[in-house]
Symmetry: C2
Subunit: 351 residues, 2 copies
């Protein structure tokens, strides 16, 4: 296969972890006879510094014409304390999601046996956890009309969903559930919100098309609780944008493996793959960042092209590295810590 991949390294440790993901992806491509052309493009604070905006048109062109996007991380401390600054890295993220139509954010949370003790939760609560959130990513209160009235003394944000938006996301959820344990949980606040009632009735109407899938409906506050109590009781969860923002982050810390969690944002034309961790500015340039989440995101990318063996080779290599203790300092537990590059080298040699 010939693959054109847009490479958006972003800020902080982004470029370093992206480098290793490229290295390991190229090794896999070579082994399986594929050819990847990487197309670097600017995003985040790096793009603001260079051209004054976080998601420049030139970057959009590169992404639109690529077969997929591999993304590092964005965010810089100089933008942290002023959420109303006119230009911010996050705006680029939202603009990119909308412009590329990345409507389904796929966020798995799973455990690595060797990392269970890093979880804030007790072992028996977390063991066996393997869930996936599908978060709607281009609608809801993020993109509804917002503004001020009464000389700035009243603020509003409108949350809007259409039936078609819900169907599109829910379809992915049902399909994913069919490939897993056939359990789907629709997370909403249908006892209060009209948008949630639309979500619930739309999903209910789709149940007949997937008779094998067992669907449950839970309120977002109840899910926020059960995720901490019995995370391993969930399989596939679907939800709207803002609930997904909160719950996927909550879910990411329960496993103890947050630094390893990959994600995908699927669109109709192109999809994007990125680690869930941030740009970790303090670690920039120190060769200490853990590249594994980005490498596992690249594995998701291969799998999304139908290249399952390739994805598995990368996952297996990561598991082997964890067992062999070839890890960066965040996972070293007082033992030997390898550098970002050295972990990447080892994985490239072992895929």
């Amino acid at each position: 296969m010939k693959l054109n991949i847009a490479l958006l390294a972003g800020d902080g440790i982004g470029p370093e972890v992206i480098n290793e993901a490229v290295k390991v992806s190229d090794a896999v491509a070579k082994k399986f006879g594929h050819e990847i052309t990487w197309k670097p493009a600017l995003t985040g604070a790096a793009a603001i510094d260079a051209v004054g905006e976080p998601y420049p048109d030139a970057t959009h062109e590169v992404c639109k014409n690529a077969d997929a996007v591999l993304f590092g991380a964005i965010g810089h401390p100089k933008y942290d304390n002023d959420p109303s600054a006119p230009v911010r890295p996050e705006q680029g993220l939202l603009k990119m999601r909308k412009a590329l139509g990345l409507f389904a954010n796929v966020r798995p949370t799973f455990t690595f046996p060797s990392l269970l003790d890093k979880s804030p939760l007790k072992r028996e609560r977390i063991e066996g956890t393997d869930l996936v959130f599908l978060r709607e990513l281009t609608g809801g209160i993020y993109f509804g009309e917002k503004g001020r009235k009464d000389n700035g003394d009243t603020a509003y944000d409108n949350c809007v969903y259409t039936r078609a938006e819900v169907q599109r996301l829910a379809k992915k959820g049902f399909e994913l559930a069919m490939t897993r344990s056939k359990k789907l949980c629709c997370v909403d606040k249908a006892n209060v919100l009209e948008t949630s009632r639309l979500w619930r009735e739309t999903v209910q109407a789709m149940e007949k098309d997937y008779p094998e899938v067992e669907v449950s409906y839970e309120f977002v506050d109840a899910v926020a609780m059960r995720l901490v109590q019995w995370p391993n009781s969930y399989d596939v969860l679907i939800t709207e944008n803002l609930f997904g923002d909160i719950l996927t982050d909550e879910a990411s810390v329960i496993s103890g493996s947050m630094g390893l969690m990959p994600s995908a944002s699927m669109g109709a034309e192109v999809s994007l793959f990125e680690p869930i961790h941030g740009s970790y500015p303090q670690a920039t340039g120190l060769n200490i960042a853990n590249p594994m989440a980005t490498i596992l995101s690249a594995a998701m990318m291969f799998e999304n092209f139908g290249l399952m063996e390739e994805g598995k080779a990368m996952r297996d290599a990561v598991n082997k590295a964890l067992e062999a203790g070839v890890v960066t300092e965040d996972l070293a537990n007082g033992g030997k810590a390898y550098g970002t590059k050295e972990v990447g080298d080892w994985l490239a040699a072992n895929v």
Copy 2:
């Protein structure tokens, strides 16, 4: 002191736990020379069954004219699977909050040393946790305009906040912080929402009036994570209605003492006190429900009248009961389980 307390027992185990709270409150009142007149009124499914609506006008009259409201729990399984049913117990709750102006929901999360092992979190994560959420309760997306367009295919919910609403809640937050460790965390999503930017700028402008309080600003997704990782790093948190709904429930399970957590909803005229647990319909009438959360809610009620000794007497009695193993089956750990009434009797005898 002469106190008139509206008594809204509600559904499920509500009446049973309320009975014990009355018993223990009367014992405290007797000891300290107060006189409580209890005014029972209907609410929840019980009120729907009796008069067709969950918060009848007659109940509102009782609450409005009381010095405080003591509330049990509402909710009945027959309403669980149809969030769009025309009349539901939750509607009564929202109507009551709005009609009584209960704008600040106070939700403490603390630990009992004897219950630490019940937490899903590891001991070192949870030890020493003692935080309080102030959740705005009468504004935001709960009460904004909501509806459908396009023949029902588009749904919307509007989230609105005014500066005055934020100030009112934040003032309580600053004041509470002054009585505790002087740390206040404002939880918002100011990188995306205009209402959150109003929250943040309003709180920032109030900082100068409370120079001793150290204020931090965190995004709701980050708080959802840190609550699981380091709950004991928080003290007072203030937030808007929907974020508060999700985060206070998340916080309630981390301590392992959820069945014991009280809450208060403060208004300008009257305030309401209730356990955070639900109506637990399966346990109705079995004399097994744990009344301690309701009793601790009554303690908050006394303290809110300035009766600190009285509140402390109730808290101390609960601690003594926990140490002596005078507990209901949820806390019995395979040991002897006492009935709801027996725990109430013991506490009434020991305040």
